[in-house]
Amino acid sequence: MSHRLETHGRLIDRASTVKFTFNGKWLRGHLGDTLASALLANDRMLVGRSFKYHRPRGIVASGGEEPNALVNLGKGDRHEPNQRVTTTELFHDLRATSQNHWPSLEFDVGAINASLSRFLPAGFYYKTFMFPRAFWKHVFEPVIRQSAGLGSAPHPETRDPDRYEHFYAHVDMVVAGGGIAGLISALAAGRAGKRVLLVEQNAHWGGRAPVDGDVIDGKPAGEWVKDAVEQLEKMENVTLRLRTQLSGVYDHGYALAYERISDHLGEEGAPRHRLWRIRAGQIISATGAIERPLSFPGNDKPGVMLASAVRDYIVNYGVTPGDRIVVVTNNDDGYRTALAAHEAGVGVACVVDPRPEVTGALPEQVRALGVPIHAGSAISKVKGLKRVVSVRVQPYAEDDGSYEEISCDAVAMSGGWSPVVHLWSHCGGKLNWDEAQACFSPDPDRPPTNQNGEGFVTCVGAAAGGLRGDVAAASVAARLSALGIDAPAIPVDTPDEAPLAPVWVMPVYAGAKKRSKMWLDFQNDVKVSDVMLAAQEGYESVEHTKRYTTLGMATDQGKLSNINGLAVLAEALDKGIPQVGTTTFRPPYTPISMGAIAGEARGEIFQPLRRTPIHAWHEEQGAYMEPVGHWRRPYCFPQGSESHEDAVKREINATRNSLGLLDASTLGKIIVKGPDAPKFMDMLYTNMMSSLKPGKCRYGLMCNENGFLMDDGVVVRLDEDTFLCHTTSGGADHVHAHMEDWLQCEWWDWQVYTANVTEQWAQIAVVGPNARKLLEKLGGMDVSKDALAFMEMAEGKLGGFDARVFRISFSGELSYEIAVPASQGRAFWDALHEAGAEWNATPYGTEALHVMRAEKGFIMIGDETDGTVIPQDLGLNWAISKKKEDFLGKRGQERTYLASEDRWQLVGLESLDGSVLPDGSYCVARGFNANGQTNVQGRVTSTYYSPTLERGIAMGLVHKGPERMGETVEFNTVDGGRVQAKIVSPVFFDPEGEKQNV
């Protein structure tokens, strides 16, 4: 059984007790434990079920590469699935539950899949769910959805109570990995005066060296690490972070690091995670190596672990997975586990080694302890269901019929080591196949390159391919000197190791049945037999095989399975491993939380919300707000229990009959000034702006260079060389950028300056027959018809406010738009309401604005336009200058398709029954198109109930519409019906403009 040892455990505090629960049962561990070591200390070998066959799963590894031991962590709002027990530090009251089983971990109905495994081969989904076609929607998809996923997803209404943040750091060098190589790198760069950030994903410095017993610079690894960290902490130019993983490397030296600030504290206060957004001159990947499993039958059973993990648990946490361990290894390093176990008083039944001769220094030490070594042997069977009971040892290469049953309760396997090349590979660093060590190593001559074509990632230590301590340490000095940084050569004493045997399947002669028990991907249940089947079925590319078999597609992204899988594929295809190649390494290295990605962007600050100076008033009045770009504008102001519809009617009637007030502050306002401003304005707008007199206003249209209508608004000439361009609310930033684009890129020699002053001004529309009376009551400016005619502007003091008064109308009423400095906006709005009370001054929202403009046949960008509409389609030919030599869009509009008479054009539409036409409804034509769809000849662009006319009115684009006045056409409805409507003029109300011109 797995249990806590009396000795060892350099990372735990034996004096402490930490209580936690697993599947509801209270257990105890120590401070310093991971959830994995604490579970093992409590003899919890079985921690989960695999994805496909629901096989019993135990802990395999001791770090982020763990494929099996994923749990649901926390409860309620803090519930989080798929958390690795190996990287979860134990804290008081931690609550974990196991995943992917029903009804219980011990008895799982889904395990029946295992006995059906011959019906669930590689490519099962592709083979099974194709036919019959109709089954997909009603049978296959629901079943797959039901059985998909490992942990349970949080409830959709769950709101994460924790806070997260980003942090930007600019450094000369970021070092990923706080093992020996990382520490040497940081020390060297720190001494060279570089700004250094050293991050380590675990809670401890030093990596594997303290466990593996390396002697560094004459000191035991643990001591050397302590000294190194002390030195680094004294350097002001070096920042050290534990629990921080360099998760991804991106172009141009950009990197993301994922810091788990308070996960291990189990309490609130600090942010939970912080995502570091790093700009680094150089990224040092000191990420070490990951041990590979061996593929033997039954290698997935609880109790079969990586050899390195077994000694990690013994040395670091004083926990052993068993009392009698079998070590199976194809290399000398695996013998370290036998030595560590023996030293801790844990029985080692034997070492199984496929190599015919085993003579290295480490094996000799093991032999000297009296531990039997079975050279030239393999494990051919593992007995036991929910934990290992015994293994069968047989010859590795040839079956001579002999075998030996060896009882044991844990198996430590080592298939050699693979450098962690992820960070090197994220941006395209290339790999070489290292025949001697049977692994892919970074090729220093083909690094990922930055904007100057220079490598910006450097691998050092084991990550560079130096899998032995002395070689790893030596690589640091060599690689850093290439970067111009002096790193001292630090001697590391480590025993000589004999070459490993590249073993991808054991025993060699295993037949189909045994191969279907050799797990490659423990989480996704991909076996040697699946990869071989894929090869047999013609899958040659490793990327295709991955997707077909799901090898390496689980949450661990194949950290343990990839190399073994592609080696098996290479063998099946009779190709070399380098010819088969690897799949793509993509960030993040291990999953990072969604919260960290979102950072601060949640709740109130999920996205910026733009507020006018009068915004608070609208909210106080209970206005129903609608988004307009990032602005929120009042749609209407319902009173009491009034419906939105009724509110809109009331607002329109009050405005048309007396006085309405609109907060138009969101309207874009751009100043264009300079000697060449008139020329520039003539290019920007389709109509002539250079002829506008100072103090006058003109409605203008702006097109893009393709001729499509982009924005519209009233242009005011403030003085000889200054124009004020009003734009749509949503279009201000875009129009300003458009102007600067042309000025900076095309007409750079024109003397024109622009400034976006949208927010400098609060703008209020005072609208209705009593508008003038209100302004006269406020006093200070002459706003009479003669002094301020339609389409004129004046500047002055209005009721004590600094005001620009524009006599313009978007409603067809007598109307003034008054701009005051934003700081005075709210006070001015209040003053208008106070003074306007005698005329029942009524605030109106965007819907009333829309209805009133539609009654007048005024177009709205975004309703009548959609990026494919030209001004001519909207009957706005009058606003397109014939005299100008050029303007943006002119040539575009001359293209045959746009210049054609045969286009959908703007008309008014009156339903015969007075109803409101459905929004977006199509005008149907005779017959069907090639797809069997009804032919159409137009569509509704704006449609409203008009309280003024007491009927539905609409505008729409209809094929040659203006030529068809009076004709009745049909529009479709959502429920399949038809509505008849008459084509009329788009100006429904006051076509002569008498109301606005008083």
Binding site: H170, I605, A755, E759, Q760, A822, S823
Partner: protein, 187 residues
Amino acid sequence: MSNAVSALQGAEAHGFAIVKEAGLVGMVTLKTDLGAAATKKAVKSAIGLDMPEARRMTGEGLGKGVAWMAPDEVLILCDHAEAYHVVAELSKALAKSHHLAVNVSDARAVFTIEAPDVREVLGKLTPADLGSLQPGEMRRSRLAQVAGAFWLKDNGHATVICFRSVAQYVFDLLKTASKEGGEPGYY
């Protein structure tokens, strides 16, 4: 003008940093040939300060300062009530040169941050390299999802300018970034 109020009317937040809205601040954008003698003279006469070097500012900052914004643009900081006069003076002095002087005081909101190291707050929101930012250097950048400009008086004091419409958003950002317990401990 007694009717005039700033966007957040002096709102404050206290965490490991103190964030305050600075109230009404006068600001004038001047676009013109910054190297011209006439420009230097006009700025000197309007606000009494020299033209700053690229990315730098002259003067004390809020209330009186000239900040370089672009090769052809400076931002003049003055009293809120003075901004109109500054515009008028510049326009008069530069009447013969191509220029644009415009009052943008009300288009903006301004915040001050005080902390043991304000870069610990700003570093969560702006991708700018704060490690190499010099005191008195005007930095145009972004704060999370909106445009923002800022400068440090020293590492303990920063001033942030944003657009008025997003004043609440930026205040909430700064408040969130300076919550107790969230010190990155980097600077």
